[in-house]
């Protein structure tokens, strides 16, 4: 028995190899495609050089990373995006057209089975230590993602179930085969796997510990040149980066050095910025934009302000009425609640009119979004009408509606103390409609868990934006009435389920968009989701020596100060440092000379 076990163990590694990759030949009818026809968005006048100073992990929540690994325990923090930004993908989506553009791959082709995507690796591609990137690095990456040694169950699971195999045609031609059919555009998203330097990693039980602080060779524009634990990480631009002349990478990644310092308190970080010790600062929130970002450095034009509208999928903020709660089983009650939430007042007062009303659960998805759907407005008459229809016509002594001796009260669970300002306004306004909202503020993780377990009555929460609307997880009946699913409203509607199933299986992009719009309409009709707000822009303050292309961002750009390096997107690093302007500013500050103040509001990509 023992010998058999040993034999099995010995055989295992050899068998595992085959589970991750196999040699294959190209199909005879293969059609290679590439994309060099889409417009450029970086500025041809950009100058190389200079230093960009910012906070490690973003200035609003800066901390030193717990590891330099990108997978495994403690790796999933905000610093990782900077590491992964320098691990190039095969292809990217063009930040304006959303078409695939070349990255590590020069060409790609789709298999007839709709599960396989072929790539030609750029023969110039090298790791930062000079070793060429080859097909085996991709095979190794899959093996690594599936390995127990990296202690990353989600990755293990995802890459074991969604990926079938890596097909190796030759050193610079490779294919990824998945397990589910996807349309061509989606394949770039789902069947994407960044290579890992095979010559660098030695998997084993100690991998997590051994590689915790090792700087992994990468393929991107920058590499870490200095790590001062607890304090600072410096990224240095590769002077002869292999991809620097690629069409969509030219004139980006201009600064020579990116210094990321740990400044734990945002207020202190902002003071650093005001002294000119940081190049920029995110000031999206009304408090910063209107109050903190005022004063001398802005009035004298040393620092500029930029308000940039983007056009991309919006996070889904809102309130989900739990339909497993007796009260919310009644459509009229749900609609009554919809009209009793004075989101407009929150927007106009607490949020200073800066945020906008979110209208549906899937905004910013282009044709897949039905823009005719509008969120139900605060309307006491309608609220009264619907609630009276549901039998809640009478009011008690305290002004709250009553029915059969019960008061109309519902608990709102939320997980961010900073949102109390907003929730209390909703609560006070709902009183006018005869509804009592009780507030349950939990710690954010506890609130999320509470909602996942469907213990809430009303979940006040939000979902990050995805590349595709998340209908199945949040609104499909399959995910209703059970814990640990994202269907916070416990929506269980056979008609909607059918539409979501069709949408998931649909292949043609036009039909899929059509279905998507119908789904949004149906979710609106069910009325268990009350959309709240969106922030379709970012706002930053920066010193005048930081220069930007025109327009300063792309449709899908995020705040470029927080995301100075951004993974799996091709819009980062578009700014540059103008050393002459810097010298000029420094001298002007010494002499007390002023420049005209500058506040730019860029609406190039503003919707509506």
């Amino acid at each position: 028995m023992k010998s058999l076990l040993v034999a099995l163990l010995l055989a295992a590694p050899a068998a595992a190899q085959n589970a991750h990759w196999e040699k294959a030949a190209l199909p005879a009818n293969i059609k290679w495609v590439t994309n060099d026809a889409d417009p450029l968005y970086a500025d041809p006048g950009a100058k190389k050089g200079g230093t960009f100073r910012t906070c490690a992990g973003g200035c609003l929540a800066s901390s030193f990373p717990l590891t330099l690994r990108t997978v495994g325990p403690d790796s999933n923090d905000s610093f990782r995006t900077a590491l992964l930004a320098n691990q190039m993908s095969m292809t990217y989506y063009h930040p304006n057209t959303r078409n695939p553009i070349p990255g590590l791959a020069t060409h790609w082709a789709y298999g007839d089975d709709d599960k396989t995507i072929y790539y030609k690796i750029n023969p110039k591609a090298v790791w930062s230590d000079g070793v060429p990137v080859t097909a085996m690095d991709f095979a190794f990456a899959l093996e690594m993602m599936r390995s127990k040694d990296i202690v990353a169950p989600w990755y293990n699971e995802y890459y074991s179930t969604k990926f079938d195999k890596i097909l190796i045609i030759d050193d610079h031609t490779v294919a990824f085969r998945g397990t589910e059919k996807k349309n061509h555009n989606d394949m770039h998203y789902f069947y994407d796997l960044n290579p890992r330097p095979r010559h660098f990693h030695k998997l084993g039980p100690d991998w997590v510990r051994d590689y915790n602080w090792k700087v992994e060779p990468n393929t991107g524009a920058y590499q870490i040149s200095k790590v001062e634990k607890g304090k600072e990480i410096v990224f240095e631009r590769k002077k002869d980066w292999w991809a620097k002349d690629l069409k969509y990478f030219k004139n980006r990644h201009n600064v020579d050095r990116i210094v990321m310092t740990v400044i734990r308190d945002p207020n202190i970080a902002y003071e650093h910025f005001k002294k000119g010790q940081l190049e920029g600062f995110p000031i999206t929130t009304p408090q910063y934009w209107h109050e903190k970002a005022t004063g001398d450095i802005y009035d004298k034009g040393y620092a500029h302000k930029l308000w940039f509208y983007e056009d991309r999928p919006q996070p889904e903020y809102g309130m989900w009425l739990n339909q497993d709660v007796e009260l919310f089983k009644d459509l009229n009650v749900r609609l009554g609640f919809q009209h009793a939430m004075n989101v407009e007042k929150v927007l106009k007062t607490v949020l200073r009119g800066d945020y906008e009303r979110l209208n549906s659960n899937a905004e910013g998805y282009g044709k897949a979004t039905d823009r005719t759907i509008k969120a139900r407005a605060f309307d006491l008459k309608l609220a009264d009408e619907y609630l009276a229809k549901a039998g809640w016509g009478k009011r008690g002594d305290d002004g709250i509606r009553v029915k059969d001796g019960k008061r109309l009260t519902a608990r709102v669970t939320y997980g961010a103390a900073a949102h109390t300002d907003r929730v209390v306004v909703l609560k006070e306004e709902a009183k006018k409609a005869g509804i009592e909202l009780t507030l349950q503020l939990l710690d954010s993780a506890a609130a999320f868990k509470n909602n996942l377990e469907k213990k809430h009555e009303i979940a006040y929460s939000g979902w990050g934006a995805q590349d595709q609307p998340e209908y199945w997880g949040q609104y499909h009946g399959k995910n209703a009435h059970k814990p640990q699913t994202n269907n916070f409203s416990n929506t269980d509607d056979p008609k909607l389920d059918k539409m979501i199933d069709d949408w998931r299986a649909e292949f043609s992009e036009t039909k899929k968009a059509e279905l998507s719009r119908a789904i949004q309409r149906r979710i609106w009709e069910i009325g268990a989701y009350i959309p709240t707000w969106k922030v379709p822009y970012w706002r930053i303050a920066y010193w005048r020596w930081l220069k930007w292309p025109k327009p300063p961002g792309t449709k899908t750009s995020d705040d470029p100060i927080t995301y100075v390096l951004k993974e799996s997107d091709a819009w980062d690093g578009m700014f540059w440092v103008d050393e002459d302007a810097k010298r000029e500013t420094m001298e002007a500050m010494k002499a007390g000379k002023a420049f005209p103040p500058v506040t730019i509001v860029d609406k190039t990509y503003k919707e509506d």
């Binding site: 002594d397 305290d398 103390a417 907003r422 939990l442 710690d443 506890a446």
Partner: protein
């Protein structure tokens, strides 16, 4: 009451306390403030004190909500009396509205378009201490927060002392194995990191007023036991206890009739410090966000808003100054009591 009559010595101590002016007046002011806070609705309230409308009198302060329709307004929710006052004044009839001196309650958001909270103190608007970050009146939140804090603290004190004194007394009186067991139990119990427990509990369930009192009592009763145990030990050996026992008095009779009255000076000395301790504990929990659930008015929550918005100095100043005044007064009272009850002045050993 006859069981708990104060002995002449204790009465002497109270008389001495009254002569310490600083402590005495602090106690008077505090008592008045606490007493008045139970009627805060009369002083700080969005509801009017008196409304005279079409020949009828209304007193909305206490009681049911009076919907706007009653006063000929077009809504069914609670009347906005400030606006009603302006409207009735404009009509120049015999109708009028008499508002509370500070015409806001602790929950309503006084928000107007174009003016963003927090707003600075303004006598014209009736926001004497300005508004907080969601447009609520700081004075109203301060007053109602004080009431919450003081009731919380007194309730907590009663619970803690009831449990602490009973167990401490029993430990001292019975001694032996009972004493030994409880000593160890208290030692272990004292080492439970109380703040963490509250944080854990608060993140799982939302504590309400009473559950918070209960949790804090659960981990706070030990303090009193040591003192009570020592004092009881001492008293138990005194001749009068022996005499009572020789006369056949029961344990309960001896404890309540003889020992407790003689320990009252110890208990009284601790009360003011326990009160301030309770207020500080609630405030710090609220500050950290683990105290009473929003939107309960609380000083800790105001303090947090204030420190996050130092540019809106009226928030942080109001609450910090109130805390300083309150805690200083409580400390004055404590000092005076300690002074008045100092055993060295009164005890005569033979």
């Amino acid at each position: 009451m006859s069981r708990f009559r104060l002995d002449p010595l204790t009465r002497k101590k109270f008389a001495r306390f009254a002569r310490i002016r600083r402590g005495y007046w602090s106690a008077v002011i505090l008592a008045a403030a606490i007493g008045l806070s139970f009627f805060s609705e009369v002083f700080v309230n969005s509801r009017a004190l008196v409304v005279r409308y079409q020949g009828r009198w209304y007193f909305p302060t206490y009681g049911a909500v009076i919907p706007g329709k009653t006063f000929g307004l077009d809504y069914e929710y609670e009347t906005n009396y400030r606006r009603l006052k302006a409207e009735l004044a404009a009509k120049s009839g015999s109708d009028f509205v008499l508002l509370a001196p500070a015409p806001y309650n602790a929950y309503e958001n006084d928000l107007q378009e174009g003016i963003y909270p927090p707003t600075a103190p303004s006598f014209a608007d009736g926001h004497y201490l300005g508004t907080d970050t969601s447009g609520r009146d700081v004075l109203a939140r301060l007053v109602y927060g004080f009431r919450t804090a003081i009731i919380f603290s007194l309730l907590l004190l009663m619970c803690n002392y009831t449990v602490g004194i009973s167990i401490g007394c029993a430990m001292g009186y019975f001694g032996g194995l009972f004493d030994l067991l409880f000593q160890r139990l208290i030692e272990v119990w004292s080492n439970v990191p109380f703040l963490y427990v509250i944080i854990i509990v608060a993140s799982i369930m939302v504590p309400n007023f009473f559950s918070l009192v209960f949790i804090m009592m659960f981990f706070g009763w030990m303090g009193m036991t040591w003192y009570m145990r020592t004092v009881t030990y001492k008293q138990r050996e005194r001749e009068y206890v022996l005499a009572a026992r020789a006369l056949g008095a029961s344990d309960a009779y001896i404890i309540f009739r003889h020992i407790l009255p003689n320990t009252i000076s110890v208990i009284v000395t601790f009360i003011p410090f326990s009160v301030s301790g309770g207020i500080v504990a609630l405030t710090s929990l609220d500050y950290l966000g683990f105290g009473l659930p929003p939107p309960t008015p609380s000083w800790g929550e105001l303090l947090r808003q204030g420190t996050n918005h130092l540019d809106a100095s009226w928030i942080v100043l109001s609450v910090v100054l109130s805390m300083i005044v309150l805690l200083t007064m409580v400390t004055f009272v404590g000092e005076a009591i300690r002074e008045a009850f100092d055993p060295r002045r009164h005890t005569v050993y033979e």
